[in-house]
């Protein structure tokens, strides 16, 4: 069944026009954060602190700045994992109003210039102060473009940290403290085609069932979803290249939830979300949105970050839009290519931006409508039993 999820055609035209204008020019014409543009900019949240995370300001090392921010995951209000695609050299002179993020220069930070793969995975507290820097694993990212996204399964009592690396064609599973690389899904640096269950081809995202079964969107190179058992053994795959039901063009995001469980796949290149059962049977499609990433919330909604409109959209599990906010830009509160969102137990929302080159922390406004807040799924207590 097709559903009209967003009245996008007009807004897409407007936004494409906006995207074609340099960010600095566009923002001079834009209203201050909080009002204006094509809709609510920060929704139920307060304008973020532009200096968050504290550790990244002024800069990781003199003359350098964080580049593309692939992912963020809030394990708790005081333990937030940041996936950084390396550091970039700042110009010799920067203007006095430079806010500290690469997006200010109107360059897409995702692939150019070539970044130094240092400080790729760091952990900060709620104030953005550095807790851990997993520099021991920086070498893993040297032949790629850095971590794509980062997660902890809500159902894992050991709270392993999973990092997807698209350009090296693998998913790394680390121990919670980052001291051990526990498992690698796929074969490092080798890419396989759609029928190859051993290799991936630029995987993008991952999500889990309560029993530890997980699903990988694969990805930029392949056009499929791969299902694994809890030990990482590939079980099956589905999807081919195309535009029909069960076909994909850049499956970039994935979220799992509902009862019975369903697999929601962002079919980004085809500008739709497709819905499947856990064995890959096509159930539905929601057209008109091309999410970079999706997230299943604690209240069983799919939150999608749309690459077309730069808006965060809340869907019920039948595909109805319940709420949305956000706008393109590089000033605080605006976003440029949201790539992963995560929410802690206090209601704070974290958004990483691959082109904006930053991760922002949004705090709920006092009295905010709770149904408009992104609610992160509860994690299994450390050492606890799986559900």
């Amino acid at each position: 069944m097709r559903r009209t999820v967003l009245s996008l055609p007009a807004s897409v035209v407007v936004l494409v026009g906006l995207l074609a204008v340099p960010a600095s020019l566009q923002e001079r014409a834009a209203a201050p954060p909080g009002k204006g543009g094509v809709g609510d900019i920060v929704g139920p949240y307060e304008v973020p602190d532009p200096k968050w995370p504290a550790w990244a300001h002024p800069y990781p090392k003199p003359g350098y700045i964080w580049g593309s921010q692939g992912g963020v995951f809030a394990e708790s209000p005081n333990r937030i994992y940041l996936a950084n695609r390396g550091e970039l050299k700042l110009p010799d002179t920067v203007p006095p109003n430079f806010p500290g993020n690469w997006g200010f220069f109107n360059q897409q930070a995702a692939t150019v210039p070539i970044a130094n793969m240092v400080n790729c995975i760091v952990v900060v507290d709620g104030e953005g102060r550095l807790i851990e820097a997993w520099n021991q694993w920086d070498h893993l990212f040297e032949w790629g473009r850095g971590p794509h996204q980062i997660y902890i399964s809500p159902y894992d009592p050991e709270r392993h940290v999973w990092v997807v690396d698209d350009m090296r064609h693998v998913i790394f599973k680390f121990s919670h403290d980052g001291k051990r690389l526990v498992q690698t899904i796929g074969i490092l640096d080798e890419f396989g085609d759609n029928d190859d269950l051993t290799r991936l081809r630029r995987p993008t995202m991952i999500d889990w069932l309560p029993d530890g079964t997980f699903f990988v969107a694969d990805g930029y190179g392949n056009t499929r979803v791969v299902k694994y058992d809890r030990d990482g053994k590939p079980l099956m795959k589905w999807g081919t290249r195309g535009t029909g039901p069960g076909q994909f063009n850049t499956p970039h995001g994935i979220a799992v939830g509902g009862s019975p469980a369903r697999v929601f796949v962002s079919d980004r290149g085809n500008r739709r979300i497709q819905v499947f059962d856990v064995n890959g049977r096509f159930l539905d499609e929601w057209p008109g949105i091309a999410p970079h990433s999706m997230m299943m919330s604690a209240d069983e909604h799919v939150w999608a970050v749309d690459s077309i409109s730069d808006r965060i959209v809340k869907f019920d599990l039948s595909g109805h839009v319940e709420f949305s906010f956000g706008q393109f830009g590089t000033r605080p509160g605006y976003t440029w290519a949201m790539h992963q969102i995560s929410a802690d137990q206090d209601g704070n929302l974290f958004i990483s931006e691959v082109f904006g080159g930053r991760t922002q922390k949004y705090r709920p406004k006092p009295g905010a409508n709770p149904t408009h807040l992104v609610r992160g799924r509860s994690l299994t207590p450390m050492g606890g039993s799986t559900r």
Partner: protein
Amino acid sequence: MNATAPTSRHLASAELATGRWRVGMLALALAAVSAGAASAQARPDFAGTWTHASSVPANYPGSNGWGIPSPTIVITQSAGELAIESGQFGKQPMKVVFKLDGTDTIWEAPSASQSGNAAIVKWRTKASWDGSRLVLYTWNTALNQMRDIMSLSGNTLTIVRATEQPGPSTNATLTYNRR
């Protein structure tokens, strides 16, 4: 010790056993020779000068000419190495060496980056045999990646090529004729 003269039955049995042993050894020897021959057959010699004979796929080349079918490629091959001289590694023709023992070769050379600007970057190659096919990977830190699966049939070289870069993936089957 009670020695007993061998009976004809014993002799027959012993001869039979000896005969079986000989047959077994012969079979093993034949198997070894056969395996060697198969191995030799499985490792074709790609050396030569090759001219591109297939149509250029619609989605080629990749970014900055990466993976473009070179009109001519020159391959030299020894027991331990295979070298390809061609223009398929970007805008500038270059010679790329693959060790055939499965280990990496790493060096530095110019490459067009994803912005199109040339820069000195690290390159890496790896080769592995898959039966009679040779699987070659080439990567560089400008985010260009290529997988070539090479096979030989008479005077025709087939390369099944897949490339990856931050932009679209490409896949193609390329054929080359021996010059």
